[in-house]
């Protein structure tokens, strides 16, 4: 291997040309084929039973997410100006090509079914905007009396009314959102304020905002990394070459994605993050070694220097890269495709970065010459050794206080485990935005006035038993459950089902007497009400709550929050009824985008934990095999485990919820932790062979590897701290957590791992016996 790498140095130009040609090919492919996948449904594993059922239910009942357009008039909405605005806006939204006319609901489109002594009356609330005080008053009264409208389309305080426009999947994009906003805002006046909210808006904005913010932040991150890298390596050449490795490996990775036609998912934006954090490591180690070597051997030829660098370091570079790649490949166990792709392509990127470090980097040095020798350290007092004083005293201190190190580590580990218990999963989209952002404020406003902007769909399935939901006993149980959920949770604002239609019809048929706002006792009565509703109301409405054979029911719960904790609370109450329904042969299922997001986050977390454990085991085995010693495997895994534990512990303490992005971050703990450990262990092994003194071996290792590790950590931490200034909270969390992981990895490697290594006597046992 060493021979091949050194041989390749003679073909430096060919190497460069080949790399550039492949890069050009990949750039071309990216230009041609790169596409972003923003449809969140595409992220879900389509073959998961919960998703299959939900998709089917969405199809049965035409469940779609709604955009909510709220019209507020502080003076009240029952005046001709507001009612006209409502009518005009309703009509305008019906004309949008992305929106089906029948999917727009407002007070203007709604039917008002009312009962009187002699009969029933099906009327629109208004068609022509009423002007006279008398007519306005009449409209107000009829709204107040209809509880299928009051509190749902008109707020209880009568200052806000909403238009709900349901849209299909894949419809939302920036242009559509802008047009909606423009249309809405165009109707604002001195008295009338208009707000736009709803899950499609939140989801869509998030899918657009995250990558957009990343695009803005990544160049700044790179500039900072460039500057810090320059300060540490003190050579423009070395800095450019190191970043070149990262740059080319990122292009190759995304190029390959484009070539094999894999779209860019939101999690894919994490790939450059990983490659930056991991890719610069090899460069720093290689250059750091090269510079030390050149300093010690002035006047050496560049080929000799590079050959020495490759001879000493090819092994740790390959080992770190392979173990890191294996760590990422373990993500293949995830059920979520974007995470699988993330794993494969990051692994590919890591391996490409390895090849670049061993082929491109030396070729560059051969072409452009050795980086300038560092002048800073030359004059330094080396304390009798060939390495730095700081490294010596640091190593001494650590070894001296090793019991303290172990003790502190143990405390940190315990604290982390305590913190991890506090960790929670959140599938909320809304909470990814700033508290004072428009989108959160609007949502809050609508939630204050209406049932809620988030929904859970509960699907009751009588498993093919026709007409099951015409049974009064079943509908009464449904009503009871609805009431239970609605009254015991503040966050549940509204519930809605077939039972509400039946209650309404029963009331209407009994001259609007409130005592008949209930489910009648006779099945025939229910069937006849349903028929009557079909004949007089809009049968499409019924299709949204019950299926054709009356053996499936869709119950909607509106929540004022899309926070996973709240969704789970509501589900917990519903679950109490599972047995009661089961006795009637009815199974309980859930559907809708809110529920899917909940399941999805659980899946990601579950998969992440599994793959984390698996990658730890694989890495332990790999390390043991590579170093032919199981103890090395165990010791080498320590920094990774500590990094992961602290990462989760801190999240628990700070209340940062696990979500797609933060869960994936544990991969970085593995990727980086293993790099540091391997470099350190390999150096220690080499140094141990040269000396009989444990402490001296540790000191030399600290001076070489330790220095490179610190440089690496500083560079990446500095770079990622930039993300703290991002406008998108998830990107801020990402920056903070990557920095934290880098920090704990390097501290863990240089302290506890060193102590364990020292204590274990590995590489010195035989020697001790011999002497």
């Amino acid at each position: 291997m060493t021979r091949i790498l050194i041989k390749l140095l003679d073909y430096k130009w060919w190497t460069m040309i080949l790399i550039l040609l492949i890069t050009v090919f990949f750039v071309y492919k990216m230009k041609q084929n790169t596409r972003m996948e923003t449809d969140l449904d595409k992220y879900m594993p389509q073959d998961h039973p919960a998703f299959i059922y939900s998709d089917k239910a969405e199809d049965w009942f035409d469940i779609k997410d709604g955009i909510i357009i709220a019209i507020e008039n502080k003076k009240g909405i029952f005046n001709s100006e507001t009612l006209d605005t409502l009518k005009q806006l309703t009509k305008r939204f019906q004309k949008f090509k992305e929106i089906d006319k029948n999917d727009v609901t407002s007070l203007y489109t709604a039917d008002n079914i009312v009962g009187s002594d002699g009969g029933i009356d099906v009327k629109r609330f208004y068609k022509r905007v009423p002007h006279s005080q008398k007519r306005l008053e009449k409209l107000k009264k009829s709204v107040e009396k209809n509880d299928m409208i009051f509190g749902r389309l008109v707020s209880d305080d009568e200052t806000v009314t909403v238009i709900v426009a349901e849209i299909g999947k894949d419809v939302f994009n920036q242009d559509f959102y802008n047009r909606i906003l423009k249309t809405a805002k165009a109707s604002e006046t001195k008295d009338i304020k208009i707000y736009v909210a709803g899950r499609p808006i939140v989801e869509g904005t998030m899918a657009l905002l995250g990558p957009k913010d990343m695009k803005k932040m990544v160049p700044i991150v790179l500039i900072v990394i460039f500057i810090v890298l320059f300060i540490t390596l003190r050579s423009l050449k070395a800095t450019l070459i190191t970043l070149g490795v990262v740059f080319f490996s990122t292009i190759w990775t995304f190029g390959l994605m484009a070539t094999v036609n894999v779209p860019i998912y939101a999690v894919s934006t994490m790939i450059p993050v990983m490659l930056i954090a991991i890719g610069v490591a090899d460069g720093i180690h290689l250059f750091s070694h090269l510079q030390t070597y050149v300093n010690l051997n002035p006047g050496i030829s560049k080929k000799e220097a590079v050959s020495e660098m490759l001879t000493t370091l090819w092994k740790p570079v390959v080992m770190t890269s392979v173990t890191t790649a294996v760590g990422f490949i373990s993500l293949l166990t995830s059920q979520v495709y974007p995470v699988k792709y993330f794993g494969i392509f990051t692994a590919f990127g890591v391996l490409v970065a390895m090849v670049f470090s061993l082929v491109f980097l030396p070729a560059c040095i051969m072409i452009f010459g050795l980086p300038k020798a560092k002048t800073g350290n030359v004059e330094e007092d080396k304390g009798g050794h060939s390495h730095s004083k700081i490294a010596n005293s640091f190593t001494n201190a650590i070894i001296k206080h090793r019991k303290l190190v172990i003790f502190i580590t143990a405390i940190i580990v315990i604290l982390s485990i305590v913190g991890m218990k506090e960790i929670w999963i959140n599938s909320s989209f809304l909470e990814k935005f700033e508290k004072n952002s428009d989108i959160v404020q609007t949502d809050k406003f609508i939630n204050e006035h209406f049932g809620g902007t988030s929904t859970i769909n509960l699907i009751l399935d009588a498993n093919g038993k026709k007409d099951a939901f015409k049974n009064p006993e079943v509908l009464k149980l449904v009503t009871k459950m609805q009431h239970d959920v609605d009254s015991s949770l503040q966050v549940v604002g509204n519930t809605f089902s077939l039972a509400d239609y039946i209650k309404r019809m029963n009331k209407v048929m009994h001259s609007d007497k409130e005592e008949f706002n209930s489910i009648p006792d006779s099945k025939n009565m229910i069937a006849q009400y349903l028929l009557l509703y079909e004949m007089s109301g809009d049968p499409e409405n019924l299709n949204k709550v019950v299926d054709y054979n009356y053996d499936k029911l869709n119950i909607t719960f509106q929540l004022k929050s899309d926070n996973s904790k709240d969704l789970k609370k509501a589900i917990a109450i519903i679950e109490k009824y599972r047995n009661d329904f089961a006795k009637k042969g009815i199974t309980v299922n859930y559907a809708g985008s809110g529920y899917k997001a909940l399941v999805f986050t659980d899946l990601i977390l579950d998969g992440q934990i599994k793959s984390l454990i698996m990658s730890l085991i694989i890495i332990l085995i790999l390390l043991s095999v590579m170093f032919k010693n199981i103890w090395i495997g165990l010791i080498g895994s320590v920094p990774i485990i500590i990094t992961a534990l602290i990462s989760f512990g801190v999240m628990g303490f700070l209340g940062i919820p696990l979500n797609t992005t933060t869960a994936l971050l544990s991969s970085i703990a593995v990727g980086i932790g293993i790099d540091y450990a391997v470099h350190f262990l390999e150096q220690y092994r080499l140094n141990a062979a040269k000396t009989n003194n444990k402490l001296e071996a540790a000191q030399i290792t600290m001076a070489h590897s330790g220095k490179a590790i610190i440089y690496n950590a500083i560079v990446v931490i500095a770079g990622f701290l930039v993300l703290l200034f991002s406008v998108f909270p998830p990107n801020r969390e990402l920056g903070a957590l990557v920095s934290l992981n880098m920090f704990t990895s390097f501290v863990g490697t240089l302290t506890i791992m060193l102590v364990l290594l020292y204590q274990s006597n590995i590489y010195f046992k035989n020697k001790a016996n011999n002497y």
Binding site: D59, W60, K97, K101, D111, G118, G119, I120, D121, V122, K123, R124, K127, D467, K470, M509, P520, S522, K523, N524, M525, I526, A527, Q528, Y529, L531, L532, E534, M535, S536, D538, P539, L542, N543, D547, Y548, N549
Partner: protein
Amino acid sequence: MKTLKLTLVSAIIILISGFTSTAFAQSKLTAREIVDKAYNLPTGDDMTSNLTMTLINKNGDERVRKIKQFSRDFGKVEKKIMFFISPADVRNTSFMDWSYDDPGKSDDMWIYLPALKKVKRISSDSKSDYFMGSDFTYDDLGDRKVDDDTHKLLKEETIDGVKYYVIESTPKDPDYMYSKTITWIREDNFVGLKKEFYDEDGELLKVLHIKKVENIGGFLTRTQSEMDNVQKNHKTIIKLENVKYNTGIPASKFSERMMMRGI
């Protein structure tokens, strides 16, 4: 003959039943004249039939309703009464409709629910609504007047050896639910073959197929027709059986008392 309004019987007659087969060669009829002949065809003074309406949704689920219906033309008012035979849980639910010739006067409608044992008057202002969850709107079922649209003869077409006029009708009211309809009308007897309905955006919404036409007591009656909503993938099949004309249904048949009595 006057245009029939809203009532299902009349609807079926207009849509499904025949036209007077003036089989003489027609010379240069205008589009309006063709439509007028197709719309205004004599039927009997009264009619009795069993109607089976099958609704089929996109999943292939079906709702089948059997109805016994009676209708009679009283000159200025057209009265109709219908009784549900099945499904069993709505059996004997009845519906009565009096439709007036005077365009200013809206229909009188009553519903009787046997479980409630009460006749209730219904008033509704939604005429473009779909009839009982079917793909037919009340308008499709016969409430349309010849001069509500402007008609244009697109072409003449021969299908399976039969010559048809192909007529495009555009509503005068720009806010109407269809932007246009295209109708194939037999040249020899003015029986329709099919009709395409286009939505507000000019896209095909529904297609009506006349599947079967029978001569019953001298009246060409369309006994089977199918309306496909191609956008919603929903379909309605209407079949008429035991069709009888001019049996002399008494005026007292169309009363609240008869609604409550059932079939």
